[in-house]
């Protein structure tokens, strides 16, 4: 019969579902059966299932509907039907009733909690603990304690798991249960042991000694459940982390971890192997057994096991590449793994562990693999190849070939962009790779479907191409774009041609011919550009501007923020008066825009990040040099990050940037007027430099008018002794004329009142004289500096919570760049060495090696070693630290 029914349904097609056309309103109507005096458990169960189904599909009930259903459901406690009761428990959890509603069911649930039926007890506990609040919890605490040691494992687990959840909200109460929990840890039931261990650890997690004791006793005993064993491994590695630095030589508990590698459950073996690889400062002797079991997993038939192993080995390869090389053969066979995540992890691991000689073989294998994986994996591989190439620059040929090959194959935008970016980086970093790289890019744009990439490559060609030995060979590729491409790319190609014309004199006549052809282009942007460039380069026979101007025009950057230019252009109404680019405000609305600006300014990198500090400085430099008063200050050394001088949400928001020159300091005050009813005029900052003796004020540049919500900048410049690092504190007062503004008409009154506004003080400190400049290889840089210029001293930093805090204090004090990720302190480390680098004013390179360590409880001691180009600078750094 059942067979028959099934066949019939098959004819109905795939759409068959008992929930077909289910509708919330109708189901809520159906829920009325809960109120029937004579309950039909079956039907009630069905209705609850439907309600649950609706919720599960993402339908939501209004507060009213939920309350309604909840009250109806509470009536169902009358029924003795087990199945129905289960569904009642479920729906109560889903409805998550409010505290005043909870009261209605608590008595029923408490009765169930003490029922003889195990299933009732277990479920009632879970439901009750889910909806209970603190006061109610104290009432049922007694039953919960009993339940924890209940002989039925399901009940005990239910109470323990609920305890873990309750610990988040009512820790005080749960902590009182530790005796019972401790008893449950000894349970014979595997999962009870697991849940009890989890709860016990959480109760004690802030007590290091207790956790250590717990681990000591349990690692000796027998923990039955694999899950509990995994937990114990996690707790053990935590204890090792916390005590690791005290004992030299043998690591406590390592033997336990190692013994877990021989456990019969795979999840325990893996957990232990992973724990060993993550030990801080793990030795290769300690690693070996873990790597061996992971290697075995690599050949497992289960994808999950292979994945887990290869992912862990991949991480190990970052820190201990040599330890993983033994697995290379197994790893290579994973390149053809069905699971692409596994294959990609295998490849990137191989790329990390590979040596120079194996690169070629590896590339061959990867080539076969690349054709059948998704773009996202390909991007990972391309990135791995990029770093491999920077590691082995001599191998650039085969790697570049690989990239150019995959560049020709099918692929999406992100993938192609990753490849192009990599080639661009090779061209920048490896001089030998330049010519071949440019040619690969040229060939790529011959057949490139992405306008963005084409234009970016053309731009890059315009900058790099003219500097090559034979620039003429690129002309053909570029001009082909003018013939074959869409208007955007054509316009971009015209600009590139012009750059070749400007830089390479012998090519000029040929470029002129090509540009003249472009004058007949169908697109006006292309025609305009061609006309413009012909004009500036002198191709139309007019007077040629000086060479410098042309190059500045072609290669220089726009010195106004694009956002502001855009707004100004939108506001410009066509009239007799031409648009004046100098009317565009150069101030940027906020720091974010400054960053945006500096990025848009240098599109040459194809989006590749440039060292951020220099480009922000660039933006400031442009801004300052545009102000005549400051133009003779020389080269800008450093601009600080903005310092807030007002609290958030005050009438006037002001922050300040300190610009340091050799013999001058300029404070740039970014002011914003946040009151719509006011217009501020003649805004300036009065600076009292009485606490900064070496500084004398030389210029003030006020803001003429500061309307509501459009930031403006005022400047104050000081003179200071050249080449001396002068410090001082400056107190600031904002001075301005206030005019009332009629918000409806937007017009300001004629008369204003003079007013002042007190700002926070500003300080010039040591960090302002040091540029954050990183070095890629600290060790080499350190050794290249004269050891005679080294100064070492020790300092006590006083009580500090963590080493990380101490590091932040010192890096901020010195304003130097942490290198090689050493600013991150491993968890619970007792000592740490941080590497800092920077440029001291006067262009002296400074490298600092700071070792921190705890000296007694919470007292941090520091050993500071400084090397620099000049011994006096090394001493100056020590002075800063000593006085800081």
């Amino acid at each position: 019969m059942a067979q028959f029914v099934k066949k019939d349904d098959d004819l109905d097609g795939e759409e068959y579902s008992p929930f077909l056309g289910i509708e919330k309103g109708a189901v809520l109507q159906e829920a009325r059966v809960f109120n029937d005096p004579q309950l039909d458990p079956r039907r009630c169960s069905q209705v609850i299932t439907k309600l649950l189904y609706l919720l599960n599909q993402g339908e939501s009930f209004t507060k009213f509907e939920a309350t309604d259903v909840f009250f109806a459901v509470t009536k169902l406690f009358q029924s003795r039907d087990l199945g129905l009761r289960r569904m009642v428990y479920l729906i109560i959890k889903e409805l998550s009733p409010s505290s005043d509603e909870v009261i209605i069911v608590t008595s029923s649930l408490m009765k169930d909690m003490n029922s003889k039926t195990d299933m009732y007890r277990a479920n009632a506990i879970r439901v009750l603990c889910r909806i209970v609040d603190g006061t109610l919890l104290t009432q049922i605490e007694r039953y919960l304690k009993q339940a924890i040691v209940d002989k039925n494992p399901v009940v005990a687990s239910a109470a323990l798991v609920s305890g873990i959840h309750l610990l988040q909200t009512n820790p005080e109460i749960v902590k009182r249960w530790s005796n019972e929990v401790q008893e449950a840890v000894q349970s014979r039931a595997a999962l009870v042991q697991f849940h009890a261990l989890a709860l016990l650890h959480q109760v004690r997690q802030n007590d290091r000694l207790a956790v250590s004791k717990l681990v000591t006793s349990l690692t000796k005993g027998t923990v039955r459940s694999p899950l509990a064993q995994c937990l114990l491994i996690r707790y053990t590695s935590q204890v090792i982390r916390e005590s690791g630095m005290n004992q030299a030589g043998d690591r406590p508990f390592y033997d336990y971890l190692e013994s877990c590698l021989r456990h019969k459950a795979e999840m325990v073996i893996f957990e232990a192997a992973r724990a060993i690889t993550e030990l801080s400062g793990v030795t290769s002797r300690e690693l070996t057994p873990a790597i061996t079991v992971l290697q075995l997993f690599l050949t497992s038939s289960k994808p999950v096991l292979r994945f887990a192993a290869v992912r862990t080995l991949n991480k190990v390869a970052m820190t201990h590449p040599l330890a993983v090389t033994n697995c290379n053969i197994d790893m290579e066979s994973l390149i053809s793994d069905q699971n692409r995540s596994i294959a990609t992890l295998a490849i990137t691991t191989l790329l990390k562990t590979g040596n120079e000689s194996s690169v070629d073989r590896l590339m061959k294998q990867i080539t076969n693999f690349m054709s059948d994986i998704a773009d996202e994996f390909k991007i990972v591989v391309v990135e791995a190849i990029r770093s491999l190439c920077l590691k082995f620059p001599l191998k650039y040929k085969s790697l570049m070939n690989f990239l150019s090959n995959i560049l020709r194959e099918e692929g999406g935008f992100e993938y192609k962009k990753a490849i192009v970016d990599s080639i661009v980086i090779f061209i920048r970093e490896i001089p030998d790779a330049k010519e071949s790289g440019l040619l690969h890019l040229c060939e790529f744009i011959e057949d490139c479907e992405f306008t963005y990439l084409s234009t970016q490559i053309l731009h890059f060609l315009g900058i790099e191409g003219p500097k090559t030995s034979d620039p003429s060979k690129y002309i053909r590729y570029i001009y082909n774009r003018v013939i074959l491409e869409n208007a955007t790319v054509r316009a971009s190609a015209v600009s590139t041609l012009a750059k070749f014309g400007a830089m390479v004199d012998p090519l000029k006549p040929r470029i002129f011919i090509l540009l003249r052809r472009c004058l007949f282009d169908s697109d006006d942007e292309v025609r305009d550009r061609a006309t413009l460039y012909l004009n500036t380069l002198g191709g139309d026979g007019s007077v040629v501007e000086t060479d410098k101007d042309v190059k500045e025009f072609l290669f220089g950057s726009l010195d106004v923020p694009l956002v502001n230019l855009e707004t100004s252009l939108k506001n410009y109404e066509p009239s007799e008066e031409p648009f004046d680019i100098y009317s565009v405000p150069k101030e940027v609305k906020s720091q974010q825009h400054v960053e945006k600006k500096s990025q848009t300014k240098k599109p040459s990198g194809l989006g590749a990040p440039l060292p951020a500090p220099t480009s922000t400085t660039d933006a400031y430099e442009k801004l300052l040099s545009s102000i005549p008063e400051f133009s003779n200050f020389g080269k800008l050394f450093k601009s600080s990050t903005p310092v807030e001088l007002t609290e958030a949400e005050t009438e006037y928001a002001v922050n300040a940037v300190k610009h340091i020159f050799d013999g001058h300091v300029v404070f740039q005050y970014n002011c914003t007027n946040t009151i719509p009813e006011q217009l501020l005029e003649n805004v300036s900052v009065i600076v009292d430099a009485s606490e900064a003796e070496e500084f004398s004020e030389v210029a003030i540049k006020p803001i003429r008018s500061l309307p509501y919500d459009s930031p403006g900048q005022t400047f104050v410049a000081f003179e200071k002794p050249v080449g001396v690092t002068s410090f001082g504190r400056f107190s600031n007062t904002l001075k301005f004329i206030v005019k009332e503004v009629d918000t409806s008409s937007g017009e300001a009154e004629d008369d204003g009142v003079e007013d002042e506004y007190q700002l926070e003080d500003l300080e010039v400190v040591a960090a302002d004289y040091i540029l954050k400049v990183g070095v890629s290889n600290f060790k080499n840089a350190w050794e290249s500096l004269d050891p005679d210029c080294e100064r070492v001293d020790e300092y006590g930093l006083g009580p500090r919570e963590t080493l990380a805090e101490a590091i932040t204090v010192v890096t901020n004090l010195l304003g130097m760049q942490p290198c090689e990720g050493t600013e991150v302190v491993p968890k619970n480390a007792r000592s740490h060495t941080c590497l800092l680098s920077g440029i001291y004013i006067g262009n002296f390179k400074v490298l600092v090696r700071v070792s921190f360590g705890f000296d007694g409880p919470k007292e941090v001691a520091m050993k500071l070693a400084v090397r620099s180009d000049d011994i006096s600078v090394s001493e100056a750094i020590h002075e800063i630290v000593a006085s800081g």
């Binding site: 458990p41 599960n56 029924s79 039907d81 995994c230 994945f307 887990a308 992912r311």
Partner: protein, 177 residues
Amino acid sequence: MENCPSVKNLLLLDSEGKRVAVKYYSDDWPTNQSKLAFEKSLFAKTQKTNARTEAEITLFDENVVVYKFVEDLHFFVTGGDDENELILASVLNGFFEAVTVLLRSSVDQREALTNMDLIFLCIDEIIDGGLILETDGTTIAGKVASHTIDEGAPLSEQTITQALAAAREHFTRSLLR
């Protein structure tokens, strides 16, 4: 909680990636839309893989997802980036085995929909608020499938109407059988 193995969600999707039953335990997906979006892209990513004989695994949005397909049902278990993959696999296995037992071996979407109550109960017995309750498939199924009248209750405690209702229920069931 941070040290305890935890599960972010259990998903049971059909052959088109639509929900059969799902349960989320993490705040990573606060709205129904974000949940649906997660399910959709996860399904699209895993659809073409062969997860029928052995459970498969993938990294997805900073999460580890293990999954297994049977007929037109797709089982998924999601855990954090750092979770022990094998623990997640054991949860997946328990989920899948329990459903197999409960649906009496004809594991497909239609059967699952007809026994939706069992599926919901099953999910409830595997994970409680992200914590693993049980991973053994038969045990889970055993806990779900105890569908009888509460015989432990003494008759004296039952009211006459309840007793009658119970008797009627018994009677109709035996007739239907």
